[in-house]
């Protein structure tokens, strides 16, 4: 194995908890740990050195801890967006700010994480609403590829060391989008995907031959093949966007044939094949608000999708599909509850399950000793549309609860409602100009 290829293909995972001297004790709140400790009334979450040091009703608080009173409030892990474009889109219509898709000859090798701007203003906008972690994925809008590239797990609280698992997964399209990119038919999209997987398998065991021109031509470039090796070896998940029931079945079939670790994304009609998904242990990333027959591939879309999948034993996680408003996933989850999903499962679908699906639940997703301290204090039921996050911690750091939007708001609140206002441009709310 060549060192360069190793560097490209190797997964690296760091949840470096930077040295944070500050210790926090969040006291008095109702804690939903989403872990073995369950729900704790009037409990304390102790945060130390970026980690959860203790959680419980009877936690001794060190003298140097900053106490935060959460009486009457709800404390949960942070929200984890399982499929976003944080840091790779600023203004959707401004191409120079978009890096989530490409039309070069690369496909699987496309590593979207290398383009992330951790200073994107989208990050604070969503962070102050409780979103603490995300998978950044290719957006699938490239016109050429069925395999759109790799995604990574990031946190939304730092400007260095924010990538925690890369690659976290490979992303691909089947269904209508896959057919469009493959030249007009679903069958062609499946064929293209199968060809890539076969070539990657062959390449994995014949790299040296390939380097010496001793191997047949491959459909993909060397870097793409190298990136696909962990996928064909079942070590890295393949997230396939599919909506129609028969497309999901086709993806399941492909996964079985090639021994893939499949994750379904979209899944508008997933409830129709819920038993098969459950039997194959394939999780589904979905927007529970997707209920319209907006495309021919989603005629069976329904607000009951989430509840039915959960009922069938499928692991589900929610995404809005809109990174600018990733924060609205709480509303989506609340609606899933209104249509039959148990409340605690809805909470898990936005906080814990994404971590499980991407294999980082040993680090985040629950409030338990030793876990990275992504913690949110809510002023009410987190799934209610009238609830706000009062304080957000990411990896034990207390996040400033401001965004460009709150600064604009405060500037104009003053300019509009002051008695003798100056032009708004003279007001500099907060510390950040």
């Amino acid at each position: 194995m060549k060192p360069f290829a190793i560097a490209i293909a190797a997964a690296f995972m760091t949840f470096a908890a930077a040295a944070h001297a500050q210790t926090y004790a969040i006291t008095g709140g109702t804690i939903y740990t989403l872990g073995p400790a369950g729900k704790i009334e009037h409990g304390t979450v102790l945060i130390k050195d970026g980690r959860i040091a203790a959680v419980g009703a009877d936690v001794s608080i060190p003298a140097d801890a900053e106490r935060i009173d959460a009486t009457g409030k709800i404390v949960t892990p942070g929200i984890f967006d399982p499929q976003s474009q944080f840091g790779v889109v600023e203004v959707s219509a401004v191409e120079s700010t978009r890096d989530a898709s490409q039309n070069t000859y690369f496909s699987a090798a496309f590593d979207v994480a290398s383009a992330i701007n951790p200073r994107s203003v989208l990050i604070p906008v969503n962070r102050i609403a409780g979103v603490t972690r995300a998978v950044v994925a290719p957006d699938g809008s490239s016109e050429k590829h069925v395999i759109t590239g790799r995604g990574a797990v990031i946190d939304l609280g730092s400007t260095t060391g924010f990538i925690h698992k890369n690659p976290a997964a490979m992303f691909a399209l089947l269904g209508e989008a896959g057919a469009r990119h493959a030249g007009g038919s679903r069958a062609a999209a499946l064929l293209k995907l199968a060809e890539a997987l076969q070539d990657a398998r062959d390449y994995a065991s014949h790299r040296d031959d390939y380097a010496e021109n001793q191997r047949r031509d491959y459909a993909l470039s060397r870097l793409d093949l190298a990136a696909l090796i962990p996928v064909v070896e079942g070590r890295e998940p393949l997230v396939v966007e599919v909506n129609r029931a028969s497309d999901i079945e086709a993806a399941l079939h492909l996964a079985q044939e090639y021994g893939l670790h499949l994750i379904v994304s979209g899944g508008a009609e997933a409830w129709m094949v819920a038993d098969k998904l459950a039997a194959a242990h394939v999780p589904v990333l979905l927007d529970p608000l997707q209920d319209l027959p907006s495309r021919f591939e989603s005629l069976g879309a329904t607000l009951h999708n989430a509840a039915r999948l959960q009922q069938a034993g499928v692991l589900i996680a929610f995404a809005t599909g809109d990174t600018h408003n990733a924060r609205n996933v709480t509303q989506a989850a609340g609606n899933a509850v209104a249509y039959g999903l148990p409340w605690i499962d809805a909470l898990k679908a936005i906080m814990l399950n994404p971590a499980k699906i991407y294999g980082v639940a040993d680090r985040v997703g629950t409030l338990a000793p030793g876990k990275v301290a992504d913690v949110v204090i809510w002023n009410g039921d987190p799934l209610e549309v009238t609830t706000f996050a009062d304080q957000v911690f990411i990896a034990g750091r207390k996040m400033p609860m401001v965004s460009r939007q709150t600064l604009l708001r405060d500037r104009y609140m003053k300019a509009i409602f002051d008695d003798k206002p100056l032009p708004a441009e003279y007001f500099h709310p907060g510390t950040n100009r």
Binding site: G334, V385, Q405, R409
Partner: protein
């Protein structure tokens, strides 16, 4: 009421007066020659019985809340509303203990029917992007009544909706106001005697569509010149017709000679100038809104509402002074430059400054949950320190949108004599867990969550999954 608010509403009243005077002075062009509406409404209310809803928490849509209240729907109208309402002998009585009642939700910005589900090229009929001014087209001629989205919106409590052409053009065409009833023709959904609107668009969309083709307009200044020239042409057209009608008055129709040639584009624009048509103006930015208010002043027409105005919070007092409504989302942002400065407190700030604030969807999914969108906007206002009651915020989805459509005398609030468009909610409509349980239009149950016989499905959805569980 604070003094600022009084001042602005007084100014608004004066302005309304002058707008009315203008409309009165100018007769509609070609009033004597052509039918006022070539596609007249054939709407008939569904069968109904007198219905008393009692023991409900009622948000009246006028800003009031009645606890343990009752409302009587009879002959399509609201017969009574209050703490105590007498039960007529033949009335259906609904015990709404623990439930909430609001007016039917009104969406002033929908593309249902013109951009229906499923979204395919042949049914995407919302944007006649072949010229920057297509004032002659009418959204109603593109509406596919079988769009399944109408049924989904009804399940969300939407009883009235304005269908707009898209925003690719400076002047996109006429809008149409529909009652959200299942029907095979658009005429059977058409709100009787509702004023027409016209869709106009500021900003990035028209200049992108035409600029990319190397055509006019390709800039913001091109946009504004485009509106002004259109209205200048319409003034000339209107004068021709006025002269001819004067001749008819003096000499009689037979002696008046040949009337001027009819121009459907000019006809729409002239009716804007004479106040028959409400201007619904897609406009995100505050500076562009200010320019458009000047244009409306120059040509003597009124802008009913700016739509999508994510920057309304920057100029709410100007909106209040000119009696211009703002139709907004709760939190959409960032998809283009002109949507960059959106904030969640937008609606609440516009309202608090004394201007007319309305929610709108522009979206077949969002229209199903406008109560939740209002709840988010209300909560963001509270978070910003604006003390707005829920009962007041209900106006953002009821009475204020009715005003945008020129229908506030008929819908938008639960007041005696108004159309009986009513929603019974399973709980407080400001909760994510609440659902519309029963929806009434003109006193008739058009949706009932507990009765499959009152849940319409589109022809399109029929037979899609034969033999499968659903």
């Amino acid at each position: 009421m604070n003094p600022t608010r009084l001042l602005t509403s007084a100014a608004a009243a004066l302005l309304m007066l002058s707008a009315n005077a203008l409309a009165e002075a100018a007769a509609p062009p070609h009033a004597t020659e052509f039918p006022p509406d070539p596609f007249p409404s054939t709407y008939q209310p569904l069968p109904s019985q007198p219905t008393l809803i009692e023991h409900a928490t009622i948000y009246t849509g006028t800003g009031a809340r009645i606890d343990d209240g009752a409302i009587l729907l009879r002959d399509g109208r609201i017969a009574a509303v209050g703490k105590h309402v007498e039960t007529p002998a033949n009335a259906v009585v609904i015990d709404a203990s623990g439930k909430f009642v609001t007016p039917g939700i009104i969406d002033v910005h929908s593309h249902l029917g013109v951009y229906p589900s499923p979204s395919v090229a042949s049914t995407a009929n919302g944007n006649e992007m072949t010229s920057p001014n297509t004032a002659q087209v009418r959204a109603e001629n593109s509406v596919w009544p079988q769009d399944p989205g109408f049924n989904y919106a009804r399940a969300g409590g939407v009883t009235t909706l304005a269908i707009l052409p898209g925003s690719g053009n400076l002047i996109g065409g006429r809008t149409v106001v529909l009652k959200n009833v299942p029907a095979s023709t658009v005429q059977a959904m058409k709100f009787p005697d509702a004023p027409y609107g016209v869709k106009m668009a500021c900003g990035e969309n028209p200049m992108r569509v035409y600029g990319n083709r190397g055509q006019f307009p390709s800039t913001l200044m091109g946009n504004v010149a485009g509106y002004r020239q259109a209205f200048a042409d319409a003034q000339a057209y209107h004068r021709q017709w006025q002269a001819w009608e004067q001749k008819v008055k003096e000499k009689g129709r037979d002696e008046a000679g040949t009337p001027p040639a009819r121009d459907l584009k000019m006809e729409t624009l002239a009716e804007i100038l004479t106040g028959q048509i409400n201007v619904q103006m897609h406009c995100y930015r505050s500076d562009e809104m200010a320019a458009l208010l000047d244009v409306s002043q120059e040509f003597g027409f009124k802008i009913a509402a700016f739509h999508h105005t994510v920057e309304a919070y920057q100029i709410p007092k100007l909106l209040a002074k000119t009696d211009t409504c703002a139709a907004m989302w709760a939190d959409w942002w960032g998809f283009k430059m002109e949507a960059w400065d959106a904030i969640r407190a937008n609606i609440a700030m516009v309202d608090a400054a004394g201007a007319c604030a309305a929610i709108h969807s522009d979206d077949a999914n969002g229209i199903q949950r406008l109560n939740q969108e209002v709840a988010k906007a209300w909560a963001a206002g509270r978070r910003a320190g604006l003390d707005i009651s829920k009962s007041h915020a209900v106006m953002w989805m009821t009475l204020n949108p009715a005003k945008v459509l020129g229908l506030a005398d008929r819908i938008g609030s639960l007041e005696k004599g108004k159309n009986a468009d009513v929603v019974i909610w399973s709980g407080d409509p400001f909760s994510v867990y609440t659902k519309a349980e029963k929806v009434f239009i003109d006193g008739a149950v058009v949706y009932d969550r507990d009765n499959p016989q009152r849940q319409a499905t589109s022809d399109f959805m029929l037979g899609q999954f034969i033999g499968e569980k659903s």
